[in-house]
């Protein structure tokens, strides 16, 4: 009996010790580099699946001598925790989406970037030079990579062409609607409300105070009985559109082109209220061991040809203006299909994902709903 008690005490002491170690998260206050030095021969990166395909990573390795070590993450959160794992410094770069990038910036996990050292940056559509999800107070934290808008997808044989997101909230469309299963979807409801209920004064769908947030949640709760499926993977939505009875849905260009290729009569519209979208950014760890290789990567991956390669490979839109021509070289018509040559006003109209924070970022102060509240509310919406 005594020995057993002793074990428990030892184990407990170990446990308490393990839990008591505070999480390290201090950023180094390094000055911005003014020139790209010699490569360090290696680059460890956390990326979305498919973002480090051999077809464009191989030439990079040959050109620069920086060996790419890829770690694929399954979710934005995994990216955040990978960048923090082992006190940071294990990974040099991360392809963070807008719902993770601010968390990384405020957590001190990523470093400021000197955009002057990334030559193709000046060819970006101006909306992607300093977007709010990777630029804070004029400081750049990373280089924008690719984006995708959330479109209103519909079956042209069974539906009239919709012009407004209202189609997704109309009880007449019960059982036909597919919606992404993602808390950030609350912003779509807020965007719709910002036009239809001006009294709520929603200016930014990611900065919602209690009243605006409640209104968006109430709208989504009314939408729930109409929803056929909250899709997790793009392939789920494709499946339901093909033969699951869905004819209307919030979707991405990827689903549009895949369904078209499968001869399903679909089209997508930019509803008059505007659209939300996601934007990925290659960010540099604040404890990166191979910063020179990282700058080389930024230069490489932002160049028109690689931008076009990745865009056509993955079904997304490049941020470099010059990538349009290259896209048409790879797949004719793909530039237009993915809106890679749209006027800048179009890109500016897209409300890109960013992490909702308690600080509204305006005169209202810290009364906005942080992301954890969004996640819990999304659970309530789905019921």
């Amino acid at each position: 009996m005594r020995t057993r008690n002793c074990f428990i005490k030892v184990a407990f002491a170990l446990l308490v010790g393990a839990l008591a170690v505070p999480a390290a998260g201090v950023s180094k206050g390094d000055a911005l580099p003014t020139a790209i030095g010699a490569g360090e021969g290696q680059l460890a990166m956390v990326a979305w699946e498919g973002y480090l395909d051999k077809s464009w990573v191989k030439p990079f390795e040959q050109q620069t001598g920086c060996k790419v070590k890829a770690k694929y993450a399954g979710s934005s959160d995994e990216m955040v925790s990978l960048m923090r794992s082992g006190g940071g410094g294990q990974y040099d770069m991360v392809s963070a989406s807008g719902d993770a990038s601010l968390r990384l910036i405020y957590g001190g996990d990523v470093a400021e970037t000197n955009v002057k050292l990334v030559k193709p940056w000046k060819d970006f559509h101006s909306a992607f030079k300093s977007p709010a999800n990777n630029t804070v107070e004029g400081k750049h934290y990373g280089i924008s990579l690719q984006f995708g808008p959330n479109l209103l997808l519909y079956n042209t044989a069974k539906e009239k062409k919709p012009t407004s997101w209202a189609a997704l909230y109309d009880p007449a469309n019960k059982g036909k609607i597919t919606i992404p299963d993602n808390p950030i979807q609350i912003a779509d409801a807020a965007l719709y409300l910002s036009r239809t209920q001006p009294s709520l004064k929603i200016r930014d769908p990611y900065e919602l105070d209690q009243k605006q947030f409640d209104a968006a949640i109430a709208l989504l709760k009314k939408q729930r009985p109409l929803v056929k499926k909250y899709w997790v993977l793009a392939s789920d939505q494709i499946d339901v559109f093909k033969n699951g009875g869905s004819t209307l849905g919030s979707s991405w260009p990827y689903q549009l082109s895949t369904l078209k290729a499968a001869k399903v009569p679909v089209a997508a519209v930019n509803p008059k209220e505007g659209v939300t979208g996601w934007l990925d950014t290659w960010m540099l760890s604040s404890k990166a061991n191979h910063p020179n290789c990282a700058y080389m990567w930024w230069n490489y991956v932002s160049s028109p040809k690689v931008q076009a390669q990745q865009a056509t490979f993955y079904g997304e839109t490049p941020v470099n203006k010059k990538a349009c021509k290259e896209m048409d070289k790879i797949a004719k018509g793909s530039c237009k299909e993915y809106s890679a040559n749209a006027p800048d006003s179009y890109y500016r109209s897209i409300k890109f994902w960013k992490t909702p924070l308690a600080d509204c970022g305006d005169s209202r102060g810290k009364v906005c709903m942080p992301y954890t509240k969004w996640v819990q509310a999304w659970t309530q919406v789905k019921g």
């Binding site: 934005s76 405020y106 992301y371």
Partner: protein, 307 residues
């Protein structure tokens, strides 16, 4: 134990000093020997199971920083209060328990006659074939099995094709809770069949003969002899089906509908999407409590012998 130590001297080459004195020590002090043998497994058990559970419970009382979403190690019961106050989580917990119970009940209803047939009626050859057929799906990936049901339940899938051929009304249950019920029943079915089969196989044929000699008809024998003796097996199987359903979070996303969230989905959303580990830990204690109650209930019907 008055045995002469030299009499137990092993033959062959003598081992070197330290190891030998250690083994002598262990031999002289049997409790030390026992301790040495137990330490690794006990330590592993403590670290892997107990510590993990304790960490789970402890982190349930923490919260996360709303700005950086890093864990703040401050004590508080806010997570549990949210769970208690918000009707959504109650609905989800009840849905999970309800579904787990329905799946368990269906598995029992299907598995008992099947296992009885295997033990009492089927020829040895057929028995082996059927048992292998029951267990075979377990070799196939879970995802493949769920996806195959998506194909079957599809409005234009095999089931509706067959129903149409028989001039029966079409089903349209894909992306509803009914689909989850069907899929879970299918997936966990082997976990019910095997323990029930094992329990039924242990009933000697002479019991049934004795029951018949005493004037009981088939149904009475089934109710008063077979069923009570099979009860531990059924209970053991139900622990599997119940706990497996209770912990799953994949099927709701694949075949479930708009209101199909289970406890596992909420935990996953909070850990995987929001990094709100404390809240997820708090909610994870709910199935833990449910399972503890369930195990206590099952212990009373003697399930532990059949696990």
């Amino acid at each position: 134990m008055a045995v002469d130590a030299t009499a137990l001297e092993p033959e062959g080459p003598r081992r070197n000093g330290a190891l030998r004195s250690l083994s002598t020590l262990a031999w002289r002090r049997p409790w030390l020997k026992g301790l040495g043998q137990l330490v690794p497994s006990v330590l592993a058990f403590l670290l892997v199971y107990i510590a993990a559970l304790a960490a789970l419970l402890v982190s349930g009382f923490w919260r996360i920083d709303e700005f950086t979403s890093e864990i703040v190690r401050e004590w508080g019961i806010d997570n549990f209060r949210t769970l208690w106050d918000d009707p959504t989580y109650r609905t989800i917990a009840l849905r999970t328990v309800g579904l787990a119970s329905a799946v368990t009940a269906t598995c029992i209803v299907l598995a008992f006659p099947f296992a009885l047939y295997l033990v009492r009626v089927a020829s040895p050859r057929l028995r082996v074939i059927l048992l292998v057929a029951t267990v075979l799906p377990l070799w196939v990936s879970y995802l493949v099995r769920v996806y195959s049901w998506r194909l079957l339940l599809n409005p234009e899938g095999a089931i509706n094709w067959a129903l149409g051929g028989l001039h029966l009304p079409q089903q349209n249950i894909l992306y509803t809770n009914w689909a989850m019920w069907v899929v879970y029943t299918y997936i966990w079915f082997p976990f019910m069949v095997l323990p029930v089969y094992a329990a039924l196989e242990r009933i000697p044929g002479s019991y049934l003969e004795a029951s018949a000699d005493l004037g009981a008809r088939g149904r009475t024998t089934l109710r008063r002899v077979v069923l009570p003796l099979a009860m531990p097996g059924i209970a053991a199987g139900s622990i599997f089906t119940f706990s497996l359903t209770l912990g799953d979070y994949i099927a709701p996303g694949l075949v479930g509908g708009p209101s199909s969230q289970l406890i596992g989905n909420v935990v996953f959303a909070n850990v995987g999407v929001a990094n709100n580990v404390p809240f997820a830990a708090a909610f994870a204690t709910v199935p833990l409590a449910i399972m503890a109650v369930y195990l206590l209930l099952m212990k009373r019907v003697g399930a532990s012998e059949n696990l």
